[in-house]
Subunit: 398 residues, 2 copies
């Protein structure tokens, strides 16, 4: 009887990356540390949450009158409007012309889920996805699960120790025409005008569909507008695209994402938006309220922006300290690439052998790429970490 | 340029049902009332939330030490185990044999989303979905959006005013072999042994894949075990199936669902489970903690079960009162079908014309099927509602 199971042809699922955390958890060394958390960590080693969110959370919990009924299927307009203005700017021409808008959806990769599903159903000719500089390992998985062919690329140049726009251009020259192009955080990629023009022309001529991933607006420069400037380029040059937006890392608003769609004109925008149906109604109004209160313009202008700036300043301070400690230890090599990278995450610029030494001998857990979350470093572990990096480099250089 | 929009072939989305709520909201009558809310309402006209949930929510909001990091991709084992035992019983043979288990996922229809996606990808030969007694209008939408052909049936017999098992059997006789069969709340369907045997034999011979929808376990009889007994039939007769479970209406735990998979043996179960990947990692541990604390066995045994019983007793009381008021008014017809139905929702047994009278003349909003949420009726609106039903019947009977 068992041979007739309806599940007999289902392949055994591949193990996802993320096993690093599992190995870390099983390690019983007292000095062990994990440098690959996704979210911002505090000096005390705890995930950071904006004070505004904390206050709002308490305010909601204490209010028995708040309503648990479901939201309208299309989501809450004011909430979507706020997220849109955050991304495109208050006076964006596309917003004025009513050709951009979106939905909110549960799950930080919910927007990718919804977008991928839309493309699968309504753009049947798109079969290939190219993910550039992806920080979101789930994104590739989502597209793969839907039957797309997925290529993932990092723009990190491990020889020159920098984010390299020429890698970006080269990748685009080689992917099939009509691909979906997921563009993650490329704010450290300093394009020349020439490279930029080339890039745009390839996207246009190969009919590539851009799908932006904005997971931590403001955490690169500390300035919300500055961080989304490259999006404006695409808007002004007349592209149509999708954009996934998450507010977890910058505002501490977890468990939701926005999917925005931008089209040539109102009627096309409406067509695409109409088919972007998410499980919005499945979240009660109460669950959303926290987010909506937090993202209200008045709160944004005030403490949220301020605390964002503080986080970014703190990240740069940590990076400076790491660089300085390595300099004092006399660690071979230039470590300027650490402070040249913006945002919470950055490459240490170590090779596989050095990373393996840190993991196996020093109980410091970081990915093979050596891309770590710098907010995991604090005053109580910085000495151990830099000393260990020094030893790793000395051992392998010799 | 606009004619080249990538969205030009996307059809205009169909309006979903649910517009009833929209019309209700636009009605500026002071007597207007909405009888089709999905969740349990309190006597005061507010959505009901278990006291346990309220307490837990406050407890979490006040604890600054709680962790925001992500959960393991497979979800929290203890949480899934608790949900499994709720559904199949603590000593279920299938649990002991390790051939049933599941995942938790965001969104109350998340389980359907995930299950439909699995079936689309791994059971390509299944193309038709038949939804029996669906209370979840999103369910059909989800399958339709994935390209399945969907048929929806209610087992309500509007002539005999009862849930009719023979409708169920007849539908199954006519749907294509190899269909997916979504089975919603059928606890009011009183199968004879003969009908039951026939049903099982059709499902087996036509290789129909059952997909259960358990949205409100315990709200029919007030007894959690009693309400899921029909599932045990399917387990003991050796079927493989999926089961979606939600705890919003019975425990006030919103915004999540479970998808359970049951197979002939451990290896097949593991294959299917391995491919059921949801956006679990996208919810922070904190968001889940509320649910997990609430569903811990100790709490379940105590106040949660007690408050569930209270809710069910209250529902029956409301139904009795409605029936009694109609009797006193001398409304033509027998109204015993109101108390013969269990659960929060039930058919009033009115025809379209009578429903239209209630909506248009009385500002009482209910669906065309006359299936209402009885917890929307309370001491301050019961007289108006029963009087209006009386008038509707008198006008159309005459």
């Amino acid at each position: 009887m068992t041979s007739l199971s309806v599940f007999r042809d289902v392949p055994i699922a591949q193990k996802l990356e993320g096993s690093l955390l599992k190995i870390y958890r099983q390690d019983d060394s007292s000095v062990k540390m994990f440098l690959a958390y996704k979210v911002c960590m505090t000096e005390g080693g705890h995930p950071w949450v904006s004070l505004v969110v904390r206050k709002t959370r308490l305010q909601i919990a204490e209010d028995p009158s708040l309503n648990y009924e479901y939201l309208p299927l299309a989501g809450l307009k004011s909430f979507i409007q706020a997220s849109l203005e955050l991304l495109f700017g208050k006076h964006s021409q596309a917003i004025v012309e009513k050709r951009v808008g979106g939905v909110h959806i549960v799950g930080e990769s919910g927007a990718f889920q919804l977008g991928a599903q839309f493309l699968k159903i309504w753009r049947k000719n798109l079969k290939t996805v190219c993910i550039i500089s992806c920080q979101n390992e789930q994104c590739g998985l989502i597209f793969r699960d839907m039957g797309f062919t997925v290529y993932e690329y990092s723009v990190w140049n491990s020889t020159d120790l920098c984010s390299d726009p020429s890698i970006f251009v080269e990748v685009l020259q080689h992917i099939p025409a009509g691909s979906i192009l997921v563009i993650g955080n490329i704010s450290d990629c300093r394009f020349t005008q020439n490279q930029w023009t080339k890039l745009m022309s390839i996207i246009k001529s190969k009919q590539i569909f851009p799908f932006f991933d904005i997971p931590c607006q403001g955490l690169s420069t500390g300035d919300l507008e500055e961080d989304s400037k490259f999006l404006q380029h695409f808007v002004s040059l007349g592209f149509e695209f999708f954009c996934s937006q998450s507010l977890s890392k910058n505002f501490g608003i977890y468990a939701l994402s926005f999917l925005h769609t931008l089209a040539y004109g109102y009627s096309f925008y409406k067509r695409s938006l109409g088919q972007l149906r998410g499980p919005n109604t499945t979240l009660s109004g109460l669950s959303w309220r926290l987010h909506i209160l937090t993202l209200s313009p008045a709160r944004l202008e005030g403490s949220a922006k301020q605390s964002l700036k503080g986080v970014v300043e703190n990240i740069m301070l940590i990076k400076e300290k790491v660089k300085e400690k390595l300099r004092l230890l006399g660690t071979p090599g230039s470590w300027n690439h650490i402070t040249r990278q913006s945002g919470t995450h950055g490459y240490l610029g170590l090779n596989y052998q050095q990373v393996e030494f840190l993991v196996k001998k020093k109980h410091i857990y970081l990915p093979k790429t050596s891309r770590i979350n710098f907010t995991c470093i604090n005053s109580s572990n910085i000495d151990y970490i830099t000393q260990s990096i020094h030893e790793a480099v000395m051992l392998t250089e010799g």
